[in-house]
Amino acid sequence: MRSAPARALRALPTLLRIGVAETVAYRAEFLVWMLTATMPLIMLSLWTSVASEGEFQSYSSADFVAYFLGVLIVRNLTSNWVAFQISEEVRLGTLSMRLLRPIHPFIAYATSHAAALPFRSVIALPIAIVLLISSGASSLTTEPMQLALLLPSIALAWLITFGIMFAIGCCAFWITQAFGIFNFYFGLWSLLSGYLMPMSIMHAKFPLIADIARSLPFYYMLGAPVELMTQHLSGAQVASLFAWQIAWAVVSVLAALVVWRRGVNHFEAVGG
């Protein structure tokens, strides 16, 4: 009898292959979904229009372009719809099938979403190149350490996002429609993640919101990696950024697993 982690590890290549196949099979949906994440461009147009009349709080037009294209890239790579998948499967009762498999659904869902990442990069990378060319290197960090830590930071942001979305999806065990909770979450997230404006600009007018945001997970899902990409940070800043990211990644994964366990005990399959 193999242990659970060993089992999961052995199934990993297959799970990844399934994820790739799913992405390819639903390519039109995938593309539409990617196009939908255009909100950063809408914010970008507002702020560049502002900056074209002069710098806004030390942010030039190029800085805004770099920031919001960074937002687009990070969001492109980290967003997922696992909450809708779970709530749909709970509602239809098809979740029962997943419960029979010897692999924890958290891992199954996570690998399926991770498998889509290369395809997402195909969309994110050209944007990154446009970012480099259009705004010049001045708005991007040249610190080798920050560049090296960029991928781990995005990976942590991915994990935090995935854990939270998974937990939200599990709420469907109790209320069958997780959309209300998701909307609430999305509101908080767009306010506190740096989605609407860079956190330092928020800080100038609403210091309280910005300070709260820096201890909540939302900022570490988006704003933090983007700032790592576009700003020069001190060593202490980078260290604290990663400490917060790791802490929230652990918390959100644990929360997802706990909510899942309690939810499954509560689960009565529809028609089953």
């Binding site: 039109a28 939908t36 809408i42 507002l46 609430f184 609403f206």
Partner: protein, 262 residues
């Protein structure tokens, strides 16, 4: 005609009854609406804290564009979205066949299948925001300006509705409708800023190809008395043209429809 009217009232009555069943939900929606308004306004608050104007718009005028955005969104989400979300399910399960069998127009049937009366709260919010903006501006719109403003609001809603119908029709051929809905909502989000904020190709696209400008910016300018008669007429003509085009596309799509069950 009277048949259509009575169908419309029946659907509306059932929706109101359903909404009244969940009173707690109603209050939660109200609280959420206010919260969303605050979040949507945040960039404008931060921005105009330091600037007098952006792209030719001062804060009160920009708030009026935002109020129009909220109003169009509220009307869409209250009157059209619930029906079209139901349409997804009907196409998937094949129940859409029954809609086509009914002796009334199919576009009418899918457009009026359900309502969310609680969106009235958002509409009131939009009205309050516009009133606040005008009180800050110190100049109230004249009666003709209000009349044109309301007329263009209707035109804006019709333009948005046309885009919805085109998406619904497209879903017969290509992708799942719910994805297209998300895409459309993302595009409509651009309507929260005045069109002048966008530059170059984007402004062209959002004025002519996907005319979000006629949904919020032009009506707001009309209410402020800044829109020329020519642009007013063009806006109305544009909305009407979209309505006609969407109708033609819908009918072509229906002819092409192959049921899920056969």
């Amino acid at each position: 005609m009277s048949r259509y009217f009575s169908l419309f009232t029946v659907q509306l009555r059932t929706s109101v009854a359903t909404a009244m069943q969940y009173r707690a939900n109603f209050i939660i929606e109200a609280v959420l609406s206010v919260a969303w308004l605050a979040i949507a306004l945040l960039p404008l608050i931060v921005l105009f804290d330091q600037r007098k104007s952006v792209a030719g718009w001062d804060q009160p005028s920009a708030l009026i564009v935002m109020a129009y955005f909220m109003a169009v969104k509220a009307i869409m989400e209250g009157m059209v979205t619930p029906s079209l979300v139901g349409l997804v399910e009907k196409i998937r399960t094949g129940a859409f066949d029954y809609v086509l069998l009914k002796p009334v127009d199919s576009q009418f049937m899918v457009s009026t299948a359900g309502y969310e009366p609680q969106k009235v709260i958002d509409l009131i919010g939009a009205f309050a925001l516009a009133s606040y903006a005008f009180s800050k501006l110190g100049v109230w719109p004249t009666l003709p300006q209000v009349a044109v403003g309301i007329l263009l609001l209707i035109a804006g809603v019709l333009a948005m509705y046309s885009l919805w119908i085109i998406c619904a029709a497209a879903s017969f051929w290509v992708v799942r409708l719910d994805n297209l809905i998300y895409l459309l909502m993302a595009v409509f989000d651009t309507a929260r800023w005045p069109i002048q904020v966008f530059r170059g190709a984007w402004r062209f696209i959002f004025t002519f190809l996907i005319p979000v400008a006629i949904m919020t910016t032009f009506p707001a300018m009309a209410l402020l008395g800044r829109l020329s008669t020519r642009t007013t007429l063009l806006t109305l003509a544009g909305a009407l043209a979209m309505l006609v085009i969407s109708r033609l596309i819908w009918r072509a799509a229906i002819r092409n429809y192959t049921s899920a069950s056969s």
